[in-house]
Symmetry: C2
Subunit: 244 residues, 2 copies
């Protein structure tokens, strides 16, 4: 039983952002990649769920980084399941350099949705998922925050979801919401600060051609973001900066 799955990465120049570091949206893509690989290894991946008409969907995520992998740096992402019940699975991640330095952690909550009803499905017969739990391994960051919609945004932007935003589940892809949240801040914010902690709560699916309204409110180092479609919040996020 591979209770822990580790993927090794090297951060190529063309994968870095303006600060020559791992971009937060790529971090989330790699977290999803590692989760997907581990689920495949455990026999509860995309192919297996599909036979039951289910698909894993990321429901909540938080990551907290001491620093980000830099250009040309070798690092690993290790993932393990902390807990699961028949409706969701809690999966954690540790980011570490090749030299063993801990860069940060992530926590995620996944739901298996029924592809027809788009409602949570039932994953209770995945015995192997239960066997793979590793409660003992530490993940010393707070769980994904319970966020509320921004009441009084200081800034509002709009964005219409297009072809490149849609994934194999035919809804807007998780990483794109991360980008929309990040994009409420300015390049100079990330030059002067690191995104120390990021929380995101995926509430509802969005689809091709939906017009999203992105409201943001900043208070000191914390920016709260609400992405809404047709006046309903589809995604809430919180960014916490810390000076470099």
């Amino acid at each position: 039983m591979n209770k822990i799955h580790t993927h090794s990465y090297r951060l190529a120049a063309d994968h870095t952002n303006a600060q020559r570091e791992l971009p937060p949206a790529l971090l989330v893509r790699q977290v999803i990649e590692c989760a997907t690989e581990h689920a495949d290894i455990l026999g509860c991946g995309f192919e297996r769920l599909q036979t039951d008409g289910l698909a894993w969907v990321l429901s909540r995520l938080a990551f907290q980084m001491n620093r980000y992998p830099g250009i040309f740096e070798d690092y690993t992402i290790s993932t393990w399941i902390e807990n699961y019940n028949r409706h969701f699975s809690q999966r954690n991640f540790e980011f570490r350099t090749a030299a063993g330095e801990i860069l940060g952690y992530a926590r995620t909550i996944w739901v298996a949705i029924d592809l027809k009803t788009r409602r949570p499905g039932n994953i209770e017969d995945f015995g192997r998922l239960a066997d793979a739990n590793d409660h003992s391994r530490p993940c010393p960051i707070d769980p994904p925050a319970k966020l509320r919609p921004v009441a009084n945004p200081d800034s509002i932007r709009t964005y219409t979801f297009r072809v490149s935003d849609i994934d194999f589940n035919r809804h807007v892809t998780s990483a794109r919401y991360v980008e929309l949240a990040i994009n409420t801040l300015s390049l100079s914010d990330f030059d002067a600060n690191i995104l120390h902690r990021f929380d995101i709560d995926y509430k509802l699916e969005s689809h091709f051609d939906n017009l999203a309204t992105i409201g943001a409110a900043t208070s000191g180092p914390v920016t709260d973001v609400t992405i809404s479609v047709a006046d309903r919040p589809v995604c809430l996020a919180r960014l916490q900066l810390s000076p470099r």
Copy 2:
């Protein structure tokens, strides 16, 4: 001398688009990844150029696909240099399945820009680049088309470049223009057709907070796209669809 560099990929579910195929922008990212890896192997990569104050920038690209890698499919991208002079390098690519089926080809033209002046630099002392030329290997697609700005667009959209669009060269990343071009069409266009051929010509750099105007004109299976900033074309593209 590694005249040909090959990278093996497996198309994970979370990397596919709504048609459960390799998305065109990811295809371009992988082309850039393979080019970057090969340049590193040849000793003319990002790290080496940086010591001369230069950086490789993609100037033009064309790809032509019989079909795209599908979900869970294993495929390779092979790259080789067809030609180079002191101002630019022509690098080709072949896409092939693990079973040997040729999926398509790409042609690219790269310029080494001087990071201070942002003008083309001089790469003539890269003897190893010359040795690595492989004129004999076929790349049976036309070179990147010479495109003209769209005179009478049928559709005009705007987009302001934000943090997630900016790369390590602190300009808008090549793949983002591909997405903006793709996004002039609808999800149903890609459900009914494949993007058989794509040409893109990067004319000028765009930067954070620039407001882009995206004009598109469709005539039969061909859509021409012009992305402009402050009334100057920064990027021209052509999409050619073919029914599935």
